[in-house]
């Protein structure tokens, strides 16, 4: 076996998230590849939280359908998740706490008094998590010291040596209990290919670090799942990197502050989810008309309205493309994995400043919160480009400064407050080249055209689509954003079955990568669209931009991310149906 999946389920407040993360990171530190995903309802105590970690010797890109080990801290966990356990898999359950007793055919039941051991070893219920981690490691043929070290690291530091020791002892007790009482089980066999250092990082962290690298100095936001952890990360680093992180009174203040900071010359960003973005919509147009650089992250969750706050969906693509009144150029980037979250956030800041317009990075809960294993990002090629920002040397060289000068590229020289001789007005009304309000017909056309010309230049500079897989494929999958991981895994499954498949990833929704998409889709035999929404939004955009219809749509809008097996099965069905 070159991989296995492990899942823990229990109530909110049980520490499921921390436990799941520790499990995954332990394996990453030992040279494995891990991918995790979580599922939790919008509440703080009770309910049912799960955290799934897939571990492999080889690079992996998403979770999979079946699990090898389930750790059930509650009866609900068994009720809801036992069917996901593979034949000959394991269910560790908290005997004494979980009432469950009967047999499950083909599954090895491992009753462990998790809570009781926790109370004996650590005097705290919450340590049952570490007992469960120890018990889990007893089912896997690896040295448990990697777990003990990871726990020490997680619970040491500020919390002190005693706390760390108590947690390690709880894990050891869990490990020993299973070892003694279930000595004849067949352990999960897995070996790492070396112990190369890699990162275990999620989309939000990658965005936050990307913004730090890009020189973001001001971050204003209002808490909203699943975007909040960007704020948490940046706030934790605000003194290390001199970033002002401001939690605002609402999303309207958040975006307007980000605009104000950008106007003053500081790179600034805000992030939210769909509902918050709705509140930000008007100000998006403010950034566009005043030609103030702006980076906004929208981490999607299922809407409309409050929808399903802690789940995932790709329902806001059309929304970000058209949000705000009037017509203006904008850039919409849809990273598909943590690495793209990092690089495209860095790029977003350059584009925003160079082209003086709003740039929206659209992700979703699945991408924002799932950790993946990746090499450290490559930094050499990253260069800050502040575009036509006027430096001090220009201050006395420019006569008759025009902030909104009607240039060939549409990009005008940008001054900053405090620059003598370069005073201007940023106006929310239509304006002339100086920024003075102007409602004349000719002037209006000149300035609308000037703003839209910027996109023509940008189009020549970016590569907005990526193609993976066989050039000469039976099937071409088309997708955007977080479906990338499950699609990669589905491609592995299909190619094992001898089906030749390739994948067109649309990375830049705006400006749309017309020529590349057209070249790929014109050649495609069967075009299958994969989207985490009801209305196939990218599909309609493709039709609109290049006049091509997809042949089949695989859509999912139950608030959950795609499973690779489901994509692969659907594609096989399509191919079978076609042959009939």
């Amino acid at each position: 076996m070159s991989e296995f999946s492990w899942k823990i389920g229990g109530e909110a407040g049980y520490g499921i998230m921390t436990t799941g993360f520790i499990f995954g990171k332990t394996f990453v530190k030992a040279g494995f590849f891990a991918f995790d995903t979580n599922e939790y309802p919008s509440l703080i105590r009770g309910g049912h939280n799960t955290y799934t970690v897939r571990v492999s010797q080889e690079p992996i890109f998403s979770h999979v359908k079946k699990i090898d080990v389930l750790v059930a801290l509650t009866d609900i966990a068994i009720e809801k998740n036992a069917t996901e356990v593979k034949k000959d898999g394991f269910i560790i359950y908290d005997v004494g706490h979980v009432k469950f007793q009967k047999e499950i055919k083909g599954v090895n039941l491992i009753p462990v008094p998790l809570t009781q051991i926790a109370l004996e070893k650590g005097k705290q219920n919450i340590m049952r998590n570490n007992v469960a981690l120890g018990a889990s490691f007893a089912l896997i043929d690896v040295d448990p010291s990697i777990l003990y070290n990871m726990i020490k690291e997680s619970f040491g530091g500020k919390k002190g040596q005693d706390v760390a020791d108590a947690n390690v002892n709880a894990a050891k007790a869990g490990y020993e209990y299973v070892k003694e009482n279930f000595s004849n089980i067949k352990k999960i066999q897995i070996k790492s290919n070396g112990n190369k250092k890699r990162m275990y990082i999620n989309g939000n962290e990658a965005i936050a670090i990307g913004s730090i690298k890009a020189g973001c100095k001001f971050y204003s936001a209002y808490p909203m799942t699943p975007a909040s952890s960007i704020m948490h990360y940046l706030a934790s680093k605000e003194f290390d990197y001199n970033i002002v992180v401001k939690q605002t009174e609402d999303e309207i203040a958040a975006i307007n502050m980000a605009i104000g900071a950008n106007f003053a010359g500081v790179r600034a960003m805000t992030a939210t989810s769909g509902g918050g973005f709705a509140l930000m919509s008007e100000a998006l147009g403010l950034a566009a008309l005043t030609e103030t650089p702006l980076v906004v992250v929208l981490a999607q969750r299922p809407g409309p309205s409050t929808g399903m706050p802690t789940h995932t969906e790709q329902g806001d693509l059309r929304f970000v493309m058209h949000a705000s009144n009037g017509e203006f150029p904008r850039v919409v980037i849809a990273p598909g994995d943590a690495s793209e979250c990092f690089y495209e956030t860095f790029n977003a800041f350059n584009i925003a400043e160079k082209y003086q317009l709003p740039v929206i990075i659209i992700t979703d809960k699945f991408l924002a919160e799932s950790h993946t294993t990746t090499e450290k990002f490559f930094l050499k090629s990253l260069k800050i480009d502040r575009g036509s920002l006027l430096t001090e040397e220009y201050i006395n060289k420019i006569k008759d400064y025009k902030r909104y000068e009607n240039t060939i590229s549409g990009i005008s020289p940008r001054s900053l407050p405090s620059q003598e001789n370069l005073i201007f007005k940023a106006a929310t009304d239509e304006h002339d080249e100086y920024g003075n309000i102007n409602e004349e017909a000719d002037n209006r056309v000149i300035h609308v055209d000037k703003r839209f010309r910027k996109i023509k230049v940008l189009e020549t500079e970016i590569d907005g689509a990526k193609v993976y897989g066989d050039a000469d494929a039976d099937v071409t999958i088309i997708g955007w954003g977080s479906t990338k991981g499950p699609i990669f895994e589905a491609m592995k499954i299909l190619s094992k079955k001898g089906i030749k498949v390739n994948y067109l990833q649309i990375l830049y929704i705006m400006p749309f990568p017309k020529s590349k998409a057209k070249i790929v889709l014109d050649k495609a035999n069967k075009k299958i669209l994969v989207e985490n929404n009801k209305t196939a939004q990218l599909g309609s955009i493709i039709k609109e931009e290049i006049g091509i219809d997809v042949d089949y749509k695989i859509l999912k809008y139950d608030g959950r991310p795609f499973l690779p097996e489901d994509i692969a099965t659907k594609i096989e069905e399509v191919l079978t149906y076609d042959k009939l």
Partner: protein, 286 residues
């Protein structure tokens, strides 16, 4: 030296002749000239409404923002470059209606900016509807049978929201207003100057005449102590035959910027971003 003339633009304001806004613009320019603030170090941020056009007619940096949003923009400009003098302007609809949430939070936050509210107790640019400070019973296009709600009291509200400088001026007394704006700009912290600004076109009630008859200056009362919040609150409730103008309340407390070590060495805008070292962030992820 920054002169009044230097601050005057070629373009002439498009406000109605005789509008209270003229007095406020004059007072603002005089205050900046008196304080001798270099004009490129001043940013005037406006919301939407008749007052929103003000940045067009003062020769400093200007940002004409959205309706009700001048304060978020202004605060962020100050946080991004705290060496600038940031002055936000807006109307009563802008600040006490659509933007009231920002107003309250800006006051408790105490970023060192000045906020001048052109309080004409009506919506002027949309041709005469009731505003948050219109008096109860006020008849307008939107309230032909008389306004039902009592007005927002911006001075009481400011005191309750921990505003560190609370003043009220009158557009019909420019020299007095110059003094108030000068003090407001000099004040370290968020300074509110609510200005009674008659709208000569749509507000038939709160006219220049109305205010000339009623206003009195707090500083003329030798016993009035603008550091006494309880007294300030009592005076803030006075609105009838006599209407107080002047400095209601002032306190010295740390500004938001003072509390940010990130700004202690240099304004954010002057900090280098070319080569941010993130190696340790990657290490932490491993």
């Amino acid at each position: 030296m920054t002169s009044f003339e230097e601050l005057t633009t070629k373009e002439r304001p498009t406000w109605c002749p005789g509008c209270g806004n003229w007095g406020i613009l004059t007072a603002l320019k005089k205050a900046i000239a008196e304080l001798n603030l270099p004009k490129h170090q001043v940013v005037v941020v406006a919301g939407i409404g008749c007052s929103g056009h003000l940045p067009q007619w003062i020769n400093t940096f200007g940002f004409h923002s959205l309706h009700g949003r001048s304060l978020p923009v202004a605060q962020a400009i100050k946080l991004a470059n705290h060496e600038l003098n940031v002055i936000a302007v807006g109307g009563d609809g802008d600040g006490y209606g659509i933007g009231i949430g920002h107003f309250i939070h800006a006051m408790r936050r105490n970023v060192d900016i000045t906020y001048i509210v052109h309080d004409n107790q009506i919506y002027g640019l949309t041709t005469g509807q009731a505003s948050p400070t219109s008096e109860k019973g006020f008849k307008s296009k939107s309230t032909p049978h008389g306004l039902i709600e009592p007005p927002v009291n911006p001075i009481s509200l400011a005191l309750a929201a921990d505003c560190s400088f609370v003043a009220r001026g009158f557009a019909g007394d420019v020299p007095h207003l110059v003094k108030l704006i000068t003090q407001a700009v000099q004040h370290k912290g968020f300074a509110l100057v609510d200005v009674l600004q008659p709208c000569i076109t749509f507000n038939y009630l709160n006219t220049f005449e109305y205010f000339y008859r009623k206003v009195y200056k707090l500083e003329e009362d030798k016993n009035y102590d603008p550091t006494n919040k309880v007294e300030a609150f009592k005076r803030s409730l006075e609105w009838g035959e006599r209407i107080p103008i002047g400095l209601f309340y002032k306190e010295e407390r740390k500004t938001y910027e003072d509390e940010l070590p990130q700004l202690s060495k240099a304004p954010l805008v002057k900090q280098k971003i070319d080569n941010v070292n993130i190696d340790n962030l990657f290490e932490e992820m491993c």
